[in-house]
Symmetry: C2
Subunit: 613 residues, 2 copies
Amino acid sequence: MTAGHTTLRSWHEVPFTKVKITDAFWRPRLDILREVTLKSCLGKCEETGRISNFAKAGGLAEGTFEGIYFNDSDVYKVLEGVAYALMLERDAALEAEADRIIELIAAAQEQDGYLCTYFTLVAPERKWTDMEKHEMYNGGHLIEAAVAYYEATGKRRLLDVACRLADHYDRNFGPGKRHWVEGHEEIELALIKLYRTTGEARYWKLACWLLEERGHGHGVGEIWNKPEWGPAYCQDDVPVREIQEVTGHAVRAMYLYAAMADAVHVSGDPAYAAALHRVWSHTVERNMYVTGGIGPSHHNEGFTHDYDLPNETAYCETCAAIAMVFWNHRMNLLFGEGKFADVVEREMYNGALAGLSLSGDRFFYVNPLASQGDHHRVPWFDTSCCPTNLARFLPSIGQYAYARTEGGFAVNQYVQGEADLALENGTGVKLKQRTSYPWSGTVELEVSPETSGAFRIQLRVPEWCRGYRVQAGGEWLSGEDAPVERGYLSIERAWSAGDTILLELDMPVEIVRARQEVQANEGRIALQRGPVVYCIEQCDHAGLHYDEMTFSARERLLVEHRQDLLGGVTALRGKDGRGDPCRFVPYYAWDNREPGYMQVWIRECEDKPLYNY
Amino acid sequence: MTAGHTTLRSWHEVPFTKVKITDAFWRPRLDILREVTLKSCLGKCEETGRISNFAKAGGLAEGTFEGIYFNDSDVYKVLEGVAYALMLERDAALEAEADRIIELIAAAQEQDGYLCTYFTLVAPERKWTDMEKHEMYNGGHLIEAAVAYYEATGKRRLLDVACRLADHYDRNFGPGKRHWVEGHEEIELALIKLYRTTGEARYWKLACWLLEERGHGHGVGEIWNKPEWGPAYCQDDVPVREIQEVTGHAVRAMYLYAAMADAVHVSGDPAYAAALHRVWSHTVERNMYVTGGIGPSHHNEGFTHDYDLPNETAYCETCAAIAMVFWNHRMNLLFGEGKFADVVEREMYNGALAGLSLSGDRFFYVNPLASQGDHHRVPWFDTSCCPTNLARFLPSIGQYAYARTEGGFAVNQYVQGEADLALENGTGVKLKQRTSYPWSGTVELEVSPETSGAFRIQLRVPEWCRGYRVQAGGEWLSGEDAPVERGYLSIERAWSAGDTILLELDMPVEIVRARQEVQANEGRIALQRGPVVYCIEQCDHAGLHYDEMTFSARERLLVEHRQDLLGGVTALRGKDGRGDPCRFVPYYAWDNREPGYMQVWIRECEDKPLYNY
C-alpha cells in the first residue's frame, strides 16, 4: 500500500534487549547512567517530594502536595529508565527501590482508577476541568513505565495500575462520552504501547480517538484562552490529518507525531502518513538546528516562524531532541527511509546528548548553540522533565541500531556490539559490529545466521557521507552489487555464519553553511565531522573574546583523538583567522570544563577563496 | 630577507634523478612515455621535416624548409624528454638516435653561432627583424635540451652548440647593444639554466636584461601593431616589476613568470617577488579553471577578463598547464608555501595530464571542460608544442616530489617510491614513500638518515584536504608536535634509520561550486576527490543527452576503484537527478573510450536541502 508518495515499509523494531553495546562511546555512558544518573534522579525525586506525593495521596503519609501538577511524570520516567537499566543488567537493590516506589504509586490510585496526586491532594473538585493540567500526560508516563517495568521484571503490579487508569480513561472519554484534548500529548503513544503489551484493542482505539479529538474546538482550559498561546500551542488548531506545519510547543508536537506514526503502524491510514511527511519536511527542513535542536522560543518552548533559528537564545529543550528521536525512529520503521534515521543520529550525538553532563548528574533543559558563558548544567529543575527523559532515553538507545525488514534486516545506527536479530521466517542471525563510530566511519560486520540462506542486509549511508566503499566477503562491491535506495545500501546474497561486511564511510570535516534564510548564521560556518557537530569553548581560547573568533573554511584541521579530553573525543585543531591556534570540540561535550563561552556557528574569515570555484 | 609579504625560503630542488617512482599511477605512464610517446614524437618530427630542416640548414641535405618557423623547438623539446628518459633508464638505441639528431643540429648552426633553420633556409635577411618570430624561443628550447642532454650523458656536443648560441645572443643584445623583446618567452629561463650548468654569470645577466627589456616600448614586429593583440599579448605592456595582472598568451605569460622566479632565486629582487605574488593571485584566484586550465580564449590562446571561464569553448592549452607547473614549482622552492605545490598537483592530475591519451600517442592541444562529442586527441599537430611539452614534462615529474629546506626536507607531492635526499649539512637521507595516491590519502614514509640526527620533515597538507592525522614512530602527533605553517605540517625531531611517519589525509568526494562571478557555472557543481577532478562521459550514460544530466550535491556516491577501467581509476557511482545510475570518471582520462560528450560542471538538482544549513 502507498501512503502519500511513500510506500509503507513497516519494518519491525529490534528491542534494545537484543542489542549488546560494547563500544567506547555509549558503553561508558550506559554505565554512568546506571550508576549515577538514575540514582541521582531517584534521589532528587525523593528530596523534592515527588515520591512522597504518592504516599500522601495514598494515605500512607501526612502532608500536602509538593511541587507542580505534572511532577508525578518525573517519577514514572525515572522508573521507566530503571526498568530499561534492569533489562540490560540485573540490580537487586535498584529493583527493590523501584518496587517500593511502585507500592506508593499503587496506593495513590483512586478507587475508580484515577491517578494524579496533584488533583487527589489539592483539588479533587477540579479534575478534568482544564485539559492542559497534564492529567493524561502523567497517566501516559505511568503507562510507559508500567509496560517497561513489566517487560523488565515480569511483575504486573504497576501494569495493573496502568490498565486500571487506562480503563478509567476509556470509561469516561471516547465516542459518545466526554470530549478530551489532552493539553500535553503523551497519552496517545502510551496507550498504543499498552495495547501492544496487553493486546487490548480498546487502548489503541482510545489513542486514535484522542488523536482525532484535536482541531475541532473541543479544547478547554486556560491555555486555549490566552491569545499569545491558543490552540496551536498544543496542536489543537487543526485536525491531525490536516496538519501542514509544525506549530506550538516542541515536545508536545513531537509526541503527537510519534503517536500518529504509531497509529499509521496500526491503521495504515494514508491521510496520517501524508500529514506526517508534510510536517516532517516542515520541521526538519525549516525549523531544526544543525544540532538537531528544535523549538527556538523560550516563550512557548516551541516553534515560531520558518528559519527563525537564533543561536544564543535558542531554547532547544532536551526533551524535544529526545522526542525527535522517538518520532523519527517510528518514521524510519514505518517508511524504511534513511533520512529519518539520519535525524535520530543527529539527536543521538548532538541535540539530545548535550543535555547530560559527562559526569551523569547535571543536566541542560535549554540547549543554545551559543552562550556568553552564563549557561551551565545543573543537578535538577523544578520542572525536571529533561533529566528524567534522559534517564529513559539513554538505556534504551540500542533499539535504534537495527530493524527487521521485509527481506532481512537494516543497520540504522553504527554502534559496536552484538545483536540477536531474527529474520521474517524466524531464522536467528547473530550480528557483530566493530567500529569506532562516531570517530571513524569504518564499520566491520560479522553476520552469522543460524542456518545459511539468502537475505538482504541494508546499511544506512548517513546523510553526512558523500562517498563510501563496501566489501562483502573481502570483495569490494560494485554499484550493482550494493545499490543505494532511500538512504540504505542493500546487499542481497546467501549468507553463512561468519560472513563479513566492511563498510567505509568517508568521514571528513565538513564546513556547514546555513541556508541564506537563516539570518542568525549569515557569514558564519559550523564544523561537523561524521554525525558530530563541533563548537568552540572559551577555555581553549585564552585571550579571545566571545564571538571574536573568525575561521577560514579552507583551514586544514588536525583530527586529533584525545582519550584524555572530555571523556575521549576527536577534537579538531587548526588556526583561527588571526593565525592563533584554535580547537573545536564536540558540541555535546561542552560545559564540562571551566565555565565560559561557547559557539557552534563561527564567523567565517573574509571570503577569499584560492580558486575560481 | 623578505620580499613583499612573504619571506624568501629558497628551498633547493631535488632532481628527479634522485627520485625513483614505483607507484601504480605514474610508473606505467613513465614506461609508456619512453616506449610510445618519445618514439612517436621523434617519428613525427622526422616525418614532418622538422629534423631534416636541420640537415638542410647545415648543408647535409637538399631541399627547402618545411613547416612553421618555430618547428625547431619541437625537436629540442623531444630531445630534452629523451635526455630525461635516459637519466631514468639507459637506452643505447635512443641515445644513438639523439646523437644523430644532435649532429644535424650542430651542422645547422651558423659560423657566428646563430641557429634557427627557418631564417637560415628561408629568410636570412630577415633575421632579428620581427621579435615575434621565435628566434630566441627556439634557442631557449635548444639550451634546455642541451643542458638536459649534458646532464644525462655527460656529452658536451649539444651544450657547446647552446653556449655558442647564447654567446651569439650576448654579443648582439644587452646594455648598450641592441634591444630585444622576445615575442615568446622561454629564452630567459633557459639562460638561467645554462648559467647554473656552466657557471657563466653572463647568461643570467642576459636573462635578467631580457626580462627588463619588456614594457618599455622596445617591441617590434607584426604582433605589436595588431590592435586586437598588441604588446599585452606577449607581456610587453608593462615592465615586469610593475606587473599587476596576468595578460595575453597563457604559455608566454607562464614562461615569463617562471623566469622571473628564477631571477628572484638568483637576485633576491623584492620587486620581482612582489610582482610574482600579485600576478599569482590574479592568475590562480580569478583566471584558473578547476582543472588547473588557464587561458579561456582561442583568439589569443590566453586570458580575457576575470572569471571568464566558459567550459565548452575553454582553450586551456596543454602547454599552459605544464607551464603552470614550471612556474608554481619555482614559486614553491622560492617561498616554501604549499599553495604553489597545490597548483602543481592540480595540473599533474588534471589540466596537464589530460593532454595525453592513456595509449601515450595521442594528444590534446586544447582542453575544454565540456564537449558535445567532437573533440578528440590526435597523434600530432602542425603546431606541436603540446605533445613535445608532455614529452619533457612527464619523465621529469619526480622533481616535484621533494625539496631540501633550511632545516631538513619537504614532501611536496605524494608519489610512491624511493628518494635519495641530502640535508643542508650533507647527510644523506633515504626516504621510502608508500601510498596509493591519488586514490587514497594514506601515505607511509620511512626515513633513513645515514647518521641519526635532528631535522625537520615537512609534509604538504593539500588544499583539498580539510582534516588530517599524522603519526611518527607509531604515535599520533598533536597540534604542537606537528604544527601546520604555510600549507606544510612540520615534524622536527631526532630521526634514525627506519623511522616511520604515517600521514592520513581525509579524501572525501567534494562538491565544488564556482564563485558566483563565474557565470558559466551558475547552478552547476563539479566533483573532486583528492586532487582528481571528475567528469561525466556519454558512454557511461546511454540515453542521456548532452547537458541533460542533473545531480544532487547530497547524493551518496560509491567510491569504486576499478583496475579494469581507464588504466585503473577510482570512479564515483550514484544516481542522477532522474534516479538513473550515473558514473563520474577522472577528467584527465576522458576521451579514451567511445567518443562522446563530456562535462565537468553538471547542473545541480533543484536545491532542496534537507536541513536548515
